[in-house]
């Protein structure tokens, strides 16, 4: 761990301290990497892109904030991760706008309705309704329809388990904003998923 105290610094040679810090960072990243990937995957819906985003966040944390106290790593890491996700979504939006110039104007009737495409839990048998696969598909689709900031707040709090203050640090906003985003996210999810989910 990166718990610096005078005794430890005086008694241990720099090489051992460096090794200890490396191990601490490795343990931290190993602990968060799966959930970070899940959060990225829900947000970008592409496994390769999600791995790349997590990798970028890891490298940035180590290079830029590796010397910071380990207690700060979690909000810093998820701050970097959410920034990377936002960057990716902006690039995708620009790409779509550019590509739209070269494609024929879509017929409004053919637009897919994301809500209509959600799996309908009410139409499923109780056994299937309880199946995790279907529940996950419905949840991922619903999360994909949330505004980005609401989704960030929900994922950081519900999946990573960050408290309001750490979520605010990770999102770069106030605690009040986190509460509002989170509350609206849960309301919207309930409406999208229906009364019988999960």
């Amino acid at each position: 761990m990166l718990m610096f105290n005078a005794e430890w610094v005086l008694c241990c040679p720099p090489k051992e301290r460096e090794l200890d810090e490396t191990r601490a960072m490795d343990r931290f990243l190993a602990e968060v990497e799966r959930r970070a990937f899940r959060i990225a995957l829900v947000s970008v819906r592409d496994r390769d892109e999600a791995v790349d985003i997590v990798q970028d966040a890891m490298i940035r944390l180590v290079r830029t904030y590796g010397a910071r106290p380990s207690e700060e790593w979690r909000p810093l890491f998820f701050r970097i991760l959410t920034n990377r996700i936002t960057d990716h979504q902006r690039r995708q939006a620009v790409r779509r706008r550019v590509l739209a110039w070269f494609e024929p104007a879509p017929d409004g009737d053919d637009d897919p309705d994301p809500i209509a495409n959600l799996p309908d839990p009410r139409g499923l048998t109780p056994d299937t309704e309880l199946a995790r696969g279907a529940a996950m598909l419905a949840l991922e689709a619903a999360l994909g329809n949330l505004p980005a900031r609401q989704r960030e707040a929900f994922l950081l709090r519900s999946v990573e388990g960050l408290d309001v203050e750490d979520t605010a640090a990770a999102m770069g906003c106030t605690a009040g904003s986190v509460k509002t985003h989170y509350s609206r996210a849960v309301h919207t999810l309930r409406n999208l998923l229906g009364d019988h989910w999960p």
Partner: protein
């Protein structure tokens, strides 16, 4: 995670269930994804760039630094400031001469006939060579 008072019990239950489901799926990722994440973590911890990333010396900062060094080097070479670089003042003309030798066409021709001159050197003494040259006019 602390609960929010503005959420109903049902909404809090949904949030908890959704978080549990997502965390469980994160714990059961496929081996290929876990392997990629593991490699990414090892690369990050080692402070190494990821596979396929641009080498550090190709980054804009390093490139700008290299160009700046080159410009300074050329400028110093042209000015030949004896106070700033006393050791290089003697070396600079030599480098320039070497470049002249290498770039001049006639000297390159001479280098191509180096074997002939190497043979000629021990074969003729200075006096014989002088006589040959005088005879040739």
């Amino acid at each position: 995670m602390s609960e929010q008072p503005d959420l109903t019990t049902d909404e809090q239950r949904l949030a908890t269930a959704a978080g549990d489901l997502l965390r469980r799926s994160a714990d059961e990722l496929d081996a290929a994804t876990l392997s990629r994440l593991n490699r990414a973590r090892q690369a990050a911890v080692a402070g190494l760039p990821p596979a396929g990333a641009r080498p550090g010396w190709l980054t804009p900062a390093y490139s700008a630094g290299a160009v700046a060094l080159l410009v300074v080097g050329v400028w110093l070479g042209r000015t030949g400031d004896p106070g700033a670089l006393p050791d290089q003042t003697a070396a600079q003309p030599l480098v320039a001469q070497d470049l002249d030798v290498l770039l001049a066409g006639e000297n390159l021709e001479m280098m191509e006939e180096l074997e002939f001159y190497a043979w000629l050197d021990p074969a003729l003494s200075d006096a014989e060579l002088q006589a040959e040259l005088e005879a040739a006019g």
